[in-house]
Symmetry: C2
Subunit: 474 residues, 2 copies
């Protein structure tokens, strides 16, 4: 923050009187015509909106502002307070908009955006074995991953997602794409026992992944985790190594677990244990464990996830589309398990749209429990933001609009005909808003979407690259 | 169609040689330098698109055109054929778009757009009794219905819905709104036994409704049906009159049926019959019977609906949100029952978005049946168009792009980053497209949305009216 002289406050006319330095800010004290003393803090950016939904505390604050300096949130305050206390180098006025924290997509395989819609109406096993893996076998390479990840990042940013939890091959190429896009990402370093174009086995996966982490670990908008694909594709020996690295390097572990109906029985046959029980015995569970899907969890699994402080990522569209079912989110949430929302890949969704997931999560929870009060809008909106940040272990930095956190902020325009009337903006954010109403997106205070247009990514060039891959894959 | 002289065809230079008249068109025969004879038909409008999805026949036709004259479709043909055979007064080029028939929203309470989001997270009975009916009791009047209907019509048109099946009070006021908007609607003339601000009883409902029909029956874009609210709100005597009027006036009957879990038991207690069995005995069922919701239908109900040739309107969002469940659509479709899609009202949805309903219908069918192949995109897209038209008894006029049908056509722009790559445009229309990608909408050949902007409705004025009602209702 710097020093500035307010011209916008009420009837300031007189000259400088007093100058002093404070610990975090330097204040300029001016005498007005009326002898009032005004202390104003200068900031980079002021966002004025019809409502601010900071998530913490929860609610929709009318006529509020978010003050941003040096990439971080300085304050969330009333417009009146902002006018009196702050002077901003840039002010963006959003008179029919809601400001809220950027959405977190807690499960993505971003590069698979290039496989969007390549095989619908197929269950998980044949979908993987007959459609996805053969194509990955032929085309998987760093340039495929770079272009696919950039395509997904552009789609995510345009739809208000400022951070995603990715899990895919060639994380180095993905990291390049995220850096180009400006969005925040946790890179899941993939581990599989069987050979792929990426690596010959689990050890080679770990080696390649940790090398990518070494290259990129100082990049402010990137974070890392270990990503064994699933209990059924990674054996005990590899899991043991993953747990060791996770402890040594303080990295979260993310994995697909209990996604399809047959996984439990298969695990019992192969290991004599249910999948989560097995991972628990291997030491994988805990507050750094991100359990993706959890469609088929039973009461014992919920006990375990709750007792160990694990996180669950709910991917409702993908779970429905692959006919896996509906995860018991209300039961998990009731036991205090943190739940985040994920899109899964564009090959099984086929959108990368957390607004869509939030709405769907709210709707299917009501039908699945028979209780219309299940997963109210407030709960779901928290899952889409702070719940996601907490799953990634980043809730001290992201997920809510609070002083000190990164300025990852999105604006939703509620001025259109489909948002009127508006009795409750939080209800609208879940049950009415489409991602197309996201007008502006800031990550670390940088405006990456301005009035609907991506500022860093050349959309036409990117679409042409996607079509190039389409021609090859077809 | 008229007479025209092509200047765009290949190297036409010579003068008029021959003139003759055909039964439906008048053709101008010209001699070219190369002595070729060219017969061109003149039309009002030619729409050129990357793909045309006519629904009948089913498929995505690349580089095709839709030729329109006098509000009707003249032909769907290749761009090359169009260039050779037709000369259009206006040509719209849509190089990254899909053209398809306008969507049909087969169940709406349009005026309730003014109650959008007024009460979430409540089951059907308390939602009606504690939230909706008391407010309707205070505010229901023609001006409320007019403004709410216009708001809904604007939202529907903007999202690619060209025809809706409405069911609400004061159909005369709603008809005024539809006429102003330009969209097509079937007006359900509501019947309830208990008194409302609209009418004192069922007889008064019928009287008021049939009077509205007399006023508006020559309006080309309006159609009418009888709309007893539900088996549980309309007694046998009233149903008998409704059936009589339906036969005399050749009107369809639409009603909410088996929406909530308790309706069957309640009907058995009160009438000794399940709801559909009772309506069947009263003579209400048949090819003119539109059964809305059908969440709780059992095997006998499905038999009855199939045997009688009834139509079912599936409203997945509303059914989930009010915790009523998931209608067995795959089972109904397997028995040959025609299924259409509906949004229900914006008070229980809270969008009026048939693209959203189509996607949700596809997704929940897969999870409900455990079969990922259930309700493929093609089936759902047909429900959203021709299925809707058939439910309304209008499939000879609407629901597909075929010569002779009304030119109700929408364009979806697939040029954006979220639609690339595109391996199958029909998959994208269901699993990727949001209503925001609808760029243009024609009803009876009239362009009601042009590049995303409503041409007849003043959006700012309408939003202001919606806020006026919000202030009163709050």
């Amino acid at each position: 923050m710097g020093v500035a002289l307010s011209r916008s406050a009420h009837s300031l006319t007189n000259a400088l009187v007093n100058w002093r330095s404070a610990s975090h800010t330097r204040l300029l004290t001016l005498a007005t015509e009326h002898q009032t003393l005004i202390h104003m803090t200068s900031v980079d950016l002021r966002l004025d909106a019809q409502w601010v939904v900071p998530i913490t505390p929860f609610g929709a604050l009318p006529d509020h502002a978010v003050m941003i300096d040096n990439g971080r949130i300085v304050a969330v305050c009333s417009a009146e307070h902002a006018e009196r206390e702050y002077i901003a180098r840039e002010t963006v006025s959003l008179p029919t908009h809601v400001l809220l924290p950027g959405l977190v997509n807690a499960h993505a395989h971003s590069a698979m955006a290039l496989l969007r819609g390549i095989a619908d109406d197929v269950a998980l096993k044949p979908w993987l074995e007959q459609h996805i893996w053969p194509r990955e076998g032929r085309f998987l390479a760093p340039d495929f991953v770079h272009d696919g990840t950039l395509l997904a990042a552009a789609e995510m940013l345009r739809g208000g997602i400022t951070c995603c939890n990715d899990m895919y091959f060639f994380p180095d190429a993905a990291a390049r794409a995220y850096r180009a896009s400006g969005m925040r990402a946790m890179m899941g370093l993939p581990v599989l026992d069987f050979p792929t174009s990426y690596a010959a086995n689990a050890d080679a996966c770990l080696q390649a992944g940790l090398a990518a982490r070494d290259t990129w670990k100082s990049e402010a908008r990137l974070a890392f985790s270990l990503a064994p694909h699933a209990p059924y594709t990674v054996g005990d020996e590899s899991w043991a190594k993953i747990v060791m690295y996770a402890r040594q390097l303080d990295l979260p572990i993310q994995t697909h677990v209990l996604e399809a109906p047959d996984e439990r029985a298969q695990s019992v046959v192969q290991y004599g244990l249910a999948p989560l029980e097995r991972l628990d015995r291997l030491g994988a569970t805990g507050p750094g464990f991100i359990a993706i899907h959890c469609v088929q969890v039973d009461a014992a699994d919920i006990d375990l996830l709750s007792a160990q402080g694990c996180h669950v990522v709910h991917c409702p569209t993908s779970n429905l589309k692959l006919a896996n079912g509906v995860a018991p989110i209300a039961a998990l949430a009731a036991r205090g398990v943190n739940v985040a929302l994920g899109t899964d890949s564009a090959a099984s969704n086929n959108r990368i749209d957390v607004f869509g997931e939030a709405r769907l999560a709210a709707l299917i929870a009501k039908a699945a429990t028979g209780d219309a009060a299940s997963l109210p809008a407030a709960t779901v909106l928290r899952m889409a933001t702070l719940g996601g940040a907490a799953a990634l272990g980043l809730d001290d930095k992201l997920g809510s609009l609070e002083a000190g956190k990164h300025a990852d902020v999105i604006a939703v325009n509620m001025g259109g005909l489909d948002h009127v009337p508006c009795y409750d903006p939080i209800s609208h954010l879940v049950h009415v808003t489409g991602r197309d109403q996201v007008s502006d997106v800031w990550v670390a205070g940088e405006r990456l979407v301005e009035d609907g247009v991506l500022t860093r990514v050349d959309a036409q060039d990117l679409a042409a690259r996607a079509r190039f891959w389409q021609d090859r894959l077809q």
